[in-house]
Symmetry: C2
Subunit: 209 residues, 2 copies
């Protein structure tokens, strides 16, 4: 049922990260227990503290891991020498795929953002989430300065629009299947492409206004 356990092929640290992702995602930060995480990784409790300074450090490491992986994707995807339409479409597709592949961590982050804003959340945003977000914003700003896209708009708004569509899709996938009239629920790539098309070209008829 769970794919971690004492899978001796990977080292303890890695097994701890994936066990922690599952446990934090299921119970939230406060509800998660170090003992359960250790058990899930097939190691002793004290081994956790050999690899990570504290429960919070482990928690941040779980998210940092996923964020760093997506950072690699950004290296490939965000290039001002490419056509911005393609760039954005590819960003959107890869981002949604990343959310779905790292569903546990994604849920963890969304859960955190909903809880009352504390210092832990601020650290999370500042140190882990913000860098990738700022790279997207930076790309959009450069594209605007280079005349590749419209320049009179806030790049942070554009970024939030793109991310918001993916996040809502990710959160509501199952609910979408209930709604009639489309087949979005089982076609994330198609959804991502359609969103990037909407955002890039807009609703307005070509040639008007």
């Amino acid at each position: 049922m769970d794919s971690n356990g004492a899978d001796s092929q990977v080292d303890g640290r890695t097994r701890l990260l994936s066990s922690a992702a599952a446990e934090f995602s299921r119970r939230g930060f406060a509800g998660a227990s170090i003992a359960t995480i250790a058990r899930g990784a097939g190691v002793g409790k004290s081994t956790v503290f050999h690899h990570f300074e504290s429960k919070e450090a482990l928690y941040l490491a779980v998210i940092r891991e996923a964020a760093a992986e997506f950072g690699q994707t950004l290296n490939t995807v965000l290039s001002t020498t490419e056509d911005p339409g393609r760039c954005i479409a590819e960003f959107q597709r890869r981002h949604l795929a990343h959310l779905q592949r790292n569903a546990e961590v994604a849920r963890l982050v969304l859960r955190e953002l909903q809880e009352p804003f504390d210092e832990r959340c601020e650290t999370l945003v500042r140190d882990v989430l913000s860098p990738n977000f700022q790279r997207l914003v930076g790309y959009l700003k450069e594209a605007a300065e280079a005349g590749l896209i419209r320049s009179n708009l806030d790049p942070a708004v554009v970024a939030l629009t793109l991310l918001g569509a993916n996040v809502l899709y990710f959160q509501s996938r199952e609910a979408l299947a209930v709604l009639p009239g489309h087949d979005l629920a089982d076609n994330p790539d198609g959804f991502a492409r359609a969103v990037s098309d909407v955002v890039f070209r807009g609703l307005v008829q070509r040639g008007e206004q």
Copy 2:
């Protein structure tokens, strides 16, 4: 601190709805206690079951109430005789304001969508959320058929893009305040207007492609 309590100006049913909104939002459906809800409304436990068939009926009524109120707004806002740019901007602004004004219910719904998809959630989507969503989709479809907006795009995708931006803003308002380079966090109307501008006009330079 909380504005419900035994405020005898409004009737029991109304006080129950707002007490229930607070309690469900805080503890989720399973965690919420009818006794606490009754106490918060200043009525006895049996009064709850006089007004509502069951815990689930009360829960759905809380959300239905907010959805119906927003349905009123849709009547005012979605009109194919208006300029679609204005329509969408106004929809976006009112929707975000509605999320913020009904923050407890909004959090409740988002929480529900994240939990494992069960029958309760399906009822919620089908009976309560879907009607308003379909009205937005229907408006976009008509606008496309009338030639007011581009017709080769999926209206459900457009709707999800608009809603996603608002939902993400709503969920991450406090986190946004931490990110540098913008003042979005304390200007929801400005955010909504900027998003609708992006979605309506697109990123592409006017006159190109």
